[in-house]
Symmetry: C2
């Protein structure tokens, strides 16, 4: 298999599109904007799900499942929410097809029109808060800490695999609390879960921050986010956690009796990450040879390729390799012995490089004689000959080293691509010449934010949570500003 990948410097966007398809992660389907997630891509997503799900449960959350459909009237109950989602939603209007009377095929049965249209959920705040009204009466029913893994639909006009698709998979947490403080704390806790997952599992360094008012979720009082930086200098929002105040409780009339017997509206959060994380993972680590996967998320962590002539040599290699495979599996390391005789070693090397398998072992006749094995790591492409007896230890060390190395590499790149600028001219120059995050003073108004977006396509990605106070002047209007915010062009 020749890889024939477009190089990143040649056309980053094309490189990404090709890589997603060639590495068997996903492809476009016959349904506009909807993707097929292929088995290898889905196996990575399953590992992400498992990691996140454990973190949610360890922090006291439970999973549940709410309906796919949302009655149109529910969506309308929270004003800014419907404003945000009405323009891009799939609407179910009928519940039956029939054979056309003129024999022209199968058509919608107009006799089966729904009384009220149903929206395919773009997010589930409305249907969930309609349910919470029945579940919450007293402070004893709080907090309610639920999550669901689900598909959602937002009718995007321009779609890209994983990054922006009409249907995508995600998890959405929806929590209910007795006090503002507790809800804010929950939103912050989840941001921490997301950041930890991104950095420790995906090896993707992120900036934790707050969105400006214009960039907030439709219906939120505050949106926390994690922002990552891709290799082409564009930012990618990797997860958001919203403090919703009492907006949805008021829209759906969800009140609780306090310890003192007073009736109060419930406080809420919601938070989600999606298959978009796959895009962040791919664009953070991969190179012109293909995917580079962090060992913690790689479906195959170690692949073993035999180099042989004839079945007798293969049998001798298999005899040596099979016990190693068992030992690695017992240690929880996922390993594949690729003994297909339909493909040559060179083809296999290319294939596993393209698919980002962290460690490749190659073993041939001379290795058998010498008691050695060739160990290659995907991240640096380095190879070395290792004593067969020491190979398990070597693999264990390498899996940790690769996870660390790709994180450090990404962090070094990210840190080298945060630029402080003090004038709008400099801002535009940096934005066009190197991209990355640009830390600049801003007057805090939506008008200035809009102007910058219109003129440069850069948006305020976030106000970092660890931002340092620094008196300054807005680079556009000269008005005073208490700290720098992070701008970037974004996916």
């Amino acid at each position: 298999m020749g890889k024939n990948l477009t190089s990143r410097t040649e056309d980053y966007s094309k490189w990404y599109n090709e890589l997603v398809v060639k590495a068997d992660l996903a492809e476009n389907s016959g349904v506009r904007g909807c993707m097929v997630i292929k088995p290898y891509g889905f196996a990575i997503w399953e590992k992400m799900q498992a990691g996140l799900d454990k973190m949610f449960k360890d922090t006291g959350h439970q999973n549940a499942y709410f309906p796919l459909f949302i009655p149109k009237s529910y969506l309308s109950k929270e004003a800014s929410h419907v404003e945000g989602f009405a323009k891009e939603c799939a609407v179910v209007t009928h519940y039956r097809l029939k054979n056309a009377e003129d024999g022209s095929g199968i058509v919608v049965d107009e006799d089966a029109k729904l009384e009220e249209e149903l929206i395919v959920r773009p997010t589930s705040e409305t249907i969930i808060w309609d349910t919470y009204r029945k579940w919450i009466q007293s402070y004893r029913d709080l907090p309610l800490l639920l999550n669901q893994w689900a598909n959602v639909v937002r009718w995007e006009m321009r779609t890209r695999l994983f990054l922006r698709t009409a249907e995508f998979l995600w998890q959405e947490g929806h929590t209910a609390h007795a006090t503002r403080e507790e809800a804010v704390k929950e939103a912050e806790l989840i941001l921490d879960v997301y950041a930890t997952f991104a950095e420790q599992h995906m090896a993707v360094p992120v900036v934790r921050g707050l969105k400006t008012e214009s960039e907030r979720f439709a219906g939120a009082e505050e949106t926390y986010c994690i922002e990552a930086l891709m290799q082409d200098g564009k930012a990618l929002q990797a997860g958001t956690s919203h403090f919703l105040g009492q907006n949805f409780a008021k829209a759906f009339d969800v009140k609780f009796a306090t310890k003192e017997g007073k009736q109060e509206h419930v406080w809420a959060t919601s938070w989600g990450v999606s298959t978009r994380l796959m895009g962040a993972l791919i664009m953070t680590h991969s190179d012109d040879n293909g995917l580079v996967l962090p060992p913690k998320l790689a479906p195959i962590q170690v692949v073993i390729v035999p180099i042989y002539k004839g079945m007798e040599q293969l049998a001798a290699i298999a005899e040596k390799v099979n016990p190693l495979v068992k030992q690695l599996q017992l240690k929880g390391i996922s390993v594949k012995f690729d003994d297909r005789d339909t493909h040559k070693p060179g083809f296999k090397f290319n294939e596993y490089e393209l698919k980002g398998v962290p460690i490749r072992l190659a073993i041939g006749q001379r290795d058998l004689e010498n008691g050695t094995v060739e160990v290659a790591r995907r991240d640096t492409l380095e190879k070395e000959s290792v004593s067969f007896d020491a190979v398990i230890e070597k693999i264990e060390t390498l899996l940790v080293a690769i996870q660390d190395n790709i994180f450090n590499k990404a962090q070094t790149y990210r840190d080298a691509n945060i630029t402080n600028v003090d004038s709008y001219e400099e801002f535009k120059k940096v934005l066009n010449e190197m991209g990355g995050f640009i830390a600049a003073h801003w007057d805090g108004t939506a008008a200035t934010e809009d102007k910058i977006k219109e003129e440069t396509k850069a948006t305020i990605r976030c106000i970092p949570l660890n931002v340092e106070k620094e008196e300054g002047k807005c680079m556009v209007t000269g008005a005073s500003s208490p700290y720098r915010v992070l701008f970037a062009k974004a996916y």
Copy 2:
């Protein structure tokens, strides 16, 4: 919490509906026919998913994900398939809402009408086989063994929680093979996976069989099924595995080059189980006190209830109990120490009985003095005092014993409710007086099958795979029949 459950003998159907809601498994939502699966119910479903998913992977299957939407034209490509699903499908016709010009609220935007309507998947054969056409060229690409966990929608008019809902969760396997024999073998392998899961995880005994032509899946050449018997004498189809022949390969033009270089159509199977299994689980084991759960699927396997007066006694109990909790967790046993001081022990006992927790420990002041603990099992409601030092061993033994006992009980009931009958009169008598499976001779025609269904509401549940040859005469027409088939009224 009083349980106040309607008893099974009083009204089985009402008992079921109440139990599902009171045990916090699921409830109806504001969307017609769609349910909310509550956290406790979802935790059971997650355990089912995990068990099945492991079995699928152990037999060589991988997960993937295909689009929620199916273009109307796809559904029409396989004639009997569209016939089976067109009458009950949710149709997406528009992709945007807007504010009504007369200010009356939010309405469908007629300018955003889809060129081709999209069907919310009732099952995914069509969209998947449209994709397989791109993936399969050669015998080297076969077999293709995929599964997806997904939501599907079938617009049912009369719905019941878990048993029949407009939206439900399921897994659907879709495999592609080079030969008829291999595809048939796959369909049979999966039937075996389903039966093993039902019997060994759910403790639900099942009959493995084949559907008659009238009861086959729309588009299948052969439908294998597992059939369980509920406590009210009605059968429940718990899973189906279909041999699809080359029907979908022909409809979607999926061919492969054989080793000899010939172009042939691919052979297919599909198979699924759904949240309906929750209904089977509930109705097989539960009693008038509430749920009875098999230990292998219980979200909480052991609950510990302290009996105390005052915080000092509670502290002494907690000191004794906390190390026990840790030890049980290390053994992979899920345990909950319910030290809430807002509820009395009697309330808690009722609650965990209702929720079917297999083992309940109670520990009070006297137990502390005597070094004992009270152990109660949910299935038999037996209680005994056990030495604290022996309690872990006791729990391990009991978890196995309970799993076995409820399976044996269900099997004894099932076996006692299979009746051989030789006349249509006797058939109707047994059907009305005791229900259950009725083994009778049938002439093999759809006409007779229809007549029986119309007159008695009983259907042929299956031709058991292990059926014994026995020459006989159809109970209705007197025509010759080579073996007995199983009839029942069914969910």
